[in-house]
Symmetry: C2
Subunit: 208 residues, 2 copies
């Protein structure tokens, strides 16, 4: 299998962390998004959305969308389980994961798109009011997470899951690229952040 | 099982359509969001995100997020299959579903939040530039769908899936509530729309 990756971008990193948790090696193909290598006709054949990551199977079939790729990997390498086992656990982890994606990650993305470092959105097309609103949503969500981590060890309870990977990558991106570092007062959120940052898979992928 | 529903809102409708496809009956609890019944302390206990739908199991455990609820139902009522069977099919349907959600649905939501009919966002907090951008994204995505439906019968290929439910509900909402009806020239998209609108489950839920 080949993974089309773009170093420094958050979504491919989610897949690489997932693969590291599973102990699975794939061939990494680097895609330079600053040269629009994710927008060539060849790449759009692999993923019409023009986005990384893409997983290309040995028979040539391709999958886009980081969570869909991770679910495929979970199917063929079931251990350790990161999406849940029985119907309730599968659904509960998916609920928690979607909350992170839809209520936090989309807001970090809006702040990024309308912030100073982005290159894919022209300054003339940026919307400062949208960034102010999404910045506030991110901070509100951090406060909610801090409360949740006062009783739960991981995003979905007692067990490390795919939802923790998404949250870690989202917070690290928000901290380093969007100036949305969680407040030091969020001690429970930082307790969780230290816990997951010290996992061997995370240290391996983030080069710590 | 009880489903907390808010008539007229799109996400609970996705779950009701999914249940109708499965032929499963649940007790429907109507939640009046105009009276903030989804923001009471009791409701926030069931779903801290303060959103409908919520599925409450007979043992009191609750699930939010429409797709998580549908995946739970798929787990306990596997037939007909709507999420996929083997690892690749599961991932492929999830990829197609997420594209609809992340590239179309989120944009319809932004247009709705910044349009004339919404009540949860105050006019002073609306961002007209955000609506112009999301309107354009929705129209671009409709054109992409029209091209895709020239070769694929359903969103994920030959088979009706959960992704078709999401797309149908999204387009109907965009048409009736956000003034974003797909162009008549998108004949392939409308071919698909007629096909899925005529399913017994859809006619039953939409009262046609």
């Amino acid at each position: 299998m080949k993974l089309y990756d773009a170093p420094g971008t958050p979504n491919p990193l989610r897949v690489r962390l997932f693969l590291a948790e599973k102990g699975v090696d794939v061939t990494i193909i680097r895609c330079d998004t600053s040269k629009n290598e994710h927008q060539t006709p060849e790449f759009l054949q692999k993923n019409p959305s023009g986005k990384v990551p893409v997983l290309e199977l040995d028979d040539g079939r391709c999958l886009g969308e980081s969570v869909a790729i991770c679910r495929y990997i979970e199917g063929i390498y079931p251990s350790p389980n990161l999406f849940g086992n029985d119907p309730f656990e599968l659904a509960y982890i998916e609920m928690r994961h979607r909350q992170i994606e839809l209520e936090l990650w989309t807001q970090i993305e809006t702040s990024w798109d309308n912030g100073p470092l982005v290159t894919r959105v022209k300054p003339a097309d940026q919307i400062p009011a949208a960034k102010r609103a999404s910045d506030a949503n991110v901070k509100r969500y951090y406060a909610r997470l801090d409360e949740e981590f006062s009783v739960a060890e991981y995003v979905a309870g007692e067990k490390f899951t795919v939802a923790d990977i998404t949250l870690l990558v989202g917070i690290n991106f928000a901290t380093s690229m969007v100036d949305l570092k969680p407040d030091d007062a969020h001690v429970n959120l930082w307790r969780w952040h230290t816990l997951v940052s010290n996992r061997p898979s995370v240290r391996q992928c983030l080069g710590q």
